[in-house]
């Protein structure tokens, strides 16, 4: 089916222009199964923009983007990747459980994981039926992280997953990322240049602003 020896995700000379000025310069990298990479850059250096290009929602103006060695498109990418952006994609009026059920309906779910168990493993046991509106910012983030655990995507794109989280939450993300890489997935994480929370020596991709 797909060429499994090829990198899971590969970018070659990727550039995104806004009014003919590059938001981020040419970016090259290849991400294989089991790898974690960190995208670094200051505010406004184009991290979020890059992430959205990688999901296929935005089109790069120059360069090419390959998923399993084939050109990436929204149709091709969908289902293969899980995206956690600045906006969490949770409905405030629904409970975390109801939100996860929708995700499971859309994306399917991993074997051995249920919405309730995913919530429990991000520390939201007891909050399953509370409307998301009433959760604190950190708890909302956790509910969004539970979606990653639930849906069967190989590539995780995490845009500033640490924001709003306390120490324990940061450790939770790190554990989650490492486990996913260990199980054969791949993870891209963005972070402000100054502070990094991922422990371990992962590959760094720098975006100059």
């Amino acid at each position: 089916m797909t060429d499994t020896s090829a990198a899971l995700l590969e970018a070659r000379g990727l550039t995104f222009l806004r009014r003919d000025e590059p938001v981020f310069g040419p970016v090259d990298f290849a991400l294989r199964a089991g790898e974690v990479a960190l995208i670094e850059g200051d505010n406004g250096s184009g991290k979020t923009t890059l992430m959205r290009v990688l999901t296929g929602l935005l089109h790069a103006d120059e360069g090419s983007l390959l998923l399993y060695g084939e050109p990436l498109s929204v149709e091709r990418a969908s289902g293969e990747l899980a995206f956690l952006g600045h906006q969490l994609g949770l409905k405030l009026e629904l409970s975390p459980l109801e939100n996860l059920r929708v995700a499971a309906g859309l994306f399917g779910q991993r074997k051995g994981v249920s919405p309730a168990s995913a919530l429990a493993s991000v520390g939201l046991a007891g909050y399953e039926h509370e409307p998301v509106r009433r959760l604190s910012a950190g708890q909302k983030k956790r509910a969004a992280l539970a979606r990653l655990l639930l849906i069967p995507a190989a590539l995780w794109l995490l845009d500033e997953p640490y924001a709003n989280l306390d120490r324990e939450g940061i450790a939770l993300v790190n554990r989650q990322v490492e486990r996913h890489a260990h199980e054969g997935g791949a993870v891209l994480v963005t972070s402000h240049g100054a502070v990094t929370f991922l422990n371990g020596a992962y590959r760094r991709i720098a975006l100059a602003s």
């Binding site: 929602l57 089109h59 409905k91 309906g105 399917g108 074997k111």
Partner: protein
Amino acid sequence: MSGARVSSACAAVLRRDLLLAWRRRGDMALPVLYALIVATLFPFALGPEAQLLARIAGGVVLVTVLLAMLLAFDGLFRPDLEDGSLEQLMLAPQPLPLLLAMKIAAHWLTTALPLMVIAPLMAGMYHLPWPAMKVLLLALLIATPLLSLLGAVLVALTAGTRRSGMLLALMLLPLCVPVVIFAAGAVTAAQQGLPWVAPIAWLGAALALALVLAPLACAAALRIALDA
């Protein structure tokens, strides 16, 4: 890992939107109230003469329902766009037009259907006779999903802009003109005892076409709107 089936994905989207509408049922009541109030205002402006009111009943109810639907369109994609749910929908491994069709269906069920329920009430207050009322309801039953579908495409196009309400009205109303003409034509014909099937048939044909094409166009428009 097990992927999701298309049917369960559609059910999930439909159920989610209906559940959301139920949780915010206060908001759901507003278009209905708006239509009722607009319909109430006209007799004040025109005087309570029963014959005149009966003459314009069909037109007023149609235009009022249309205006109320128009105001509710903003809620079709904007909340999902703002909280990131729309991105998740677009990243799902399912045909996007189908998922959007589900969203449109939910929107029709939660905004147009309540309006259709009160349409007889409004028409009754305008003394529309029963045979014409039946035709009015039939016309609404075909015209409102048609408008929902057309509106969805335009809402998708304006999804990325700031003040979309007025803009939407501007773009949608010209599209509405034919719909209104045919629907009102059928009602007037029925009121005068003339055959009214032809305009309804045209509306039906347009609806069939829109059912196929609008979700596709809507998906394309949303992709364009988000790509910026």
